[in-house]
């Protein structure tokens, strides 16, 4: 299969490219930018006039809900949502049912997702068996089965000795841990940021200190053990400052923020909007500003979707009883562009945070448009507005705090491995 993408504005943060030029794809690989290779005859021509041609996006945290929660979402529904959002590679969390702590489950997941020929799935294996925080999962065997890192999803390891051993073991083999920083005792029962809004609404709060305490342990143990640690979904100003300091002394630390925290605050809960019941909680305006600044100056490396599809019925409950999570795959690009516009960031630099940077953290061959790299590509219109509504979302999860928002950034065509997998 030979494809020519013509007249597009090609951006590639890794190779510092931003210019209008044609792209030529042969047998799943990018073979040339600009001039056609000798004897190239296209089977398919994609006209990208007025559009941006970027690396396929890479998401650091998504839940696909399979196995175990197929009523919420299926691999097929969510990987279709991924490519509809321009995402061609994603890391999925291990908190499925059963938990992804067995190589056989990972192999099955890899096998099934490959057969769908949609986005590529890079599983994060469970760091501890059953995510119980007591015994290490078989990290080596999980790696061999296809895991690119290890995570505890939203469940903390309370025993610091276990955390220490996990990092020592991971450091031995160069594995990356993906950890969400929240001290579970301080956060117990909490459903919202422990601030003004929670106090007013009578919701049990999760103090910012819960993130700072967990981060202090994680960063200290990471330094002691030399483990590579990625902090998932940072939420507080203090957390940003701690990462900023830690990174100066330890090159093995990276970090992301979810698109939700980047745009929303505790005030968006308004009158108990259960779509805003998220983990970490939506925090204060000051925290949001610090996250944005941290993302801008590189303290925070990437933006993730934190895609967590929830069944409608599970959101139909009083705030604290409503299930945590929001759909996000199809919003990642538009929310990133919105942030870039607000902060006056170059589009290439913004795209890096959802492609090149994320691919580097996962250690996967993605996120750039180098010649001879695999042709995973997202073609989008940065200026076309669309309205976020349940009916336009491909994901089985229709819940998001952004419902009703008119937002710029519409994916037109997505290619994975040199084949069109999504066409608007």
């Amino acid at each position: 299969m030979k494809i020519q993408i013509k007249n597009g504005r090609v951006i590639d943060p890794k190779n510092n490219i931003d210019r209008q030029q044609d792209m030529y794809i042969v047998a799943g690989k990018i073979v040339s930018l600009g001039a056609a290779p000798d004897g190239f005859v296209a089977n398919q021509i994609i006209d990208a006039s007025g559009l941006i041609v970027s690396p396929g996006l890479v998401d650091l945290s998504a839940r696909l809900r399979e196995p175990g929660n197929e009523y919420k979402a299926t691999l097929e529904s969510e990987l279709q949502a991924a490519v509809a959002g321009g995402i061609t590679s994603l890391a999925c969390q291990p908190d499925t049912n059963p938990v992804l702590d067995e190589p056989g489950l990972v192999e099955m997941l890899k096998h099934r997702t490959k057969q769908l020929h949609l986005a590529r799935v890079y599983p994060l294996g469970a760091l501890t068996r059953q995510l119980q925080g007591k015994e290490l999962a078989e990290m080596g065997a999980l790696r061999d089965a296809g895991c690119v890192g290890y995570s505890q999803a939203n469940i903390a390891i309370t025993d610091t000795q276990v955390l220490w051993r996990a990092m020592e073991y991971a450091a031995t083999f160069g594995f990356t841990l993906f950890l969400h920083a929240e001290e579970p005792f301080l956060a117990k029962g909490g459903v919202a940021h422990d601030g003004e809004v929670a106090s007013r609404l009578g919701l049990k709060g999760i103090p910012s200190a819960a993130e700072a305490l967990a981060l202090a342990s994680i960063l200290r143990i990471a330094k002691e053990t030399g483990a590579r640690v990625h902090i998932s979904r940072l939420s507080t100003a203090e957390g940003v400052e701690m990462i900023r300091t830690a990174k100066k002394q330890n090159g093995n630390i990276s970090c992301d923020v979810s698109a939700n925290q980047l745009h929303l605050t505790e005030h968006d809960i308004a009158y108990f909007d259960t779509n805003c019941h998220l983990k970490p909680p939506l925090r204060s305006q000051r925290d949001k500003d610090a996250l944005s600044a941290g993302l801008k100056d590189g303290t925070i490396n990437a933006i993730c979707s934190d895609h967590t599809p929830v069944d409608n019925d599970d959101k139909l409950a009083p705030f604290a009883e409503a299930e945590i999570g929001a759909t996000g795959l199809e919003l990642l690009l538009a929310l990133t562009l919105k942030w870039a516009k607000q902060e006056k960031i170059e589009i290439t630099s913004a795209i890096a945070r959802i492609s090149t940077n994320a691919a580097k953290i996962l250690g996967i061959p993605a996120g750039d448009l180098s010649v001879n790299s695999q042709a995973d590509i997202c073609i989008f219109d940065a200026n076309e507005y669309w309205k976020v509504e349940p009916s336009v979302l491909t994901s089985q999860g229709k819940n998001t705090p952004f419902i009703g928002l008119e937002i710029a950034g519409k994916v037109k065509t997505t290619l994975v491995n040199g084949l069109v997998v999504y066409q608007a």
């Binding site: 422990d194 106090s199 009578g202 009158y271 108990f272 019925d313 409950a317 009083p318």
Partner: protein
């Protein structure tokens, strides 16, 4: 964001919380209640304002006193009343809140009086009922208990008519108290210039000062020269543990005795939403003393609930 409590003309559609209600509506409720106080003293304690209407008390959390006063209020307005105690534990296994509500709507309930252990439950139900159905929040988690807040204002107004010249202290477990939140919003909306909260730090929510109150940790200092003392109930399960060492220690530092009450103005009144823990948050001699208005609160509670129901069901300002 639309205020879910008001209709497009700014009239009361549901009563979910004091916060978000304009002063005019609060005063209208209090004035309407005034006209209902007399009904209880008549030989026939009934007015026909809600005749043919069905009021459904939907209690997901146990309550005797509040449910009873709502029942009496509805009956005095000639409504048909159904009271359901929905066992929350069996509910979590089967029927959802909305299933329960939908079934009652199918039976043509006109008004729901809702109590639930989760903050936001009344808002949640109000959001899902059809337009002609009204919801009254009878207490949701720690969030709000608006009729309690209103009956407290009614009581204060009876004894201290000039709200613009009052100093009010709210004492006790503000953190877990929907009553405290309702009182604070009602007092500040009605123009009371100084509202104090007095409690140990473990029983105060984060940034409580942003609700417009002055924070005191010392009971004696906080009670100095106040006109009104509003006591809060301390739940049994919070008396021993990480919040407080013991009920004895709590009584010693935050329990209201006559001696401490003497620091307030000589004509200060004492309120308590009930049920009281005598000897924990309040001494019996104060509860039963000359400055206590705790029983009048109960009486006025019925008038307030009648006023709210009449206003919701009969358009505005139902007069007896």
């Amino acid at each position: 964001m639309n205020n879910p409590q008001l209709d497009t003309d700014g009239r009361l559609r549901h009563l979910l919380s004091i916060e978000g209600l304009p002063k005019k509506i609060l005063n209208q409720i209090l004035d309407t209640a005034e006209s209902f106080v007399g009904v209880a003293e008549r030989e026939v304690k009934k007015v026909p304002l809600l005749r043919g209407k069905t009021v459904c008390n939907l209690f997901f959390e146990n309550s005797t006193r509040t449910r009873t006063t709502f029942e009496i209020a509805a009956k005095r307005l000639s409504a048909d009343v159904i009271s359901l105690n929905v066992n929350t534990s069996s509910q979590s296994k089967g029927e959802t809140i909305l299933d329960t509500v939908d079934n009652l709507i199918a039976m043509h309930a006109d008004m729901f009086v809702v109590r639930h252990s989760q903050s936001g439950a009344a808002h949640f139900i109000a959001k899902h009922v059809p337009n002609h159905i009204h919801v009254i929040n009878a207490g949701d988690g720690r969030h709000s208990h608006p009729t309690q807040g209103l009956l407290d204002m009614f009581t204060i107004r009876k004894y201290k008519p000039d709200l613009h010249n009052l100093r009010v202290a709210i004492v006790g477990d503000v953190l877990h108290s929907r009553v405290a939140r309702s009182e604070i919003h009602a007092l500040t909306t009605l123009g009371v210039p100084e509202v104090r909260v007095i409690a140990p730090k473990t029983l105060l929510p984060a940034h409580v000062e942003k609700l417009g109150v002055h924070v005191f940790h010392d009971l004696q200092a906080g009670l100095k020269d106040v006109d009104v003392v509003m006591m809060l109930r301390l739940q049994n399960e919070r008396m021993n543990g990480a919040m407080l060492p013991s009920p004895q220690e709590y009584f010693k530092t935050y329990g209201l005795t006559q001696e401490k009450l003497n620091l307030a103005k000589p004509d200060a009144i004492v309120l308590h939403p009930g049920p009281m823990n005598r000897g924990v948050e309040i001494d019996s001699s104060v509860a039963d003393g000359a400055q206590s208005v705790i029983l009048p609160q109960v009486t006025y509670g019925i008038a307030i609930r009648m006023a709210v129901m009449a206003m919701l069901a009969g358009g505005q300002g139902g007069q007896a």
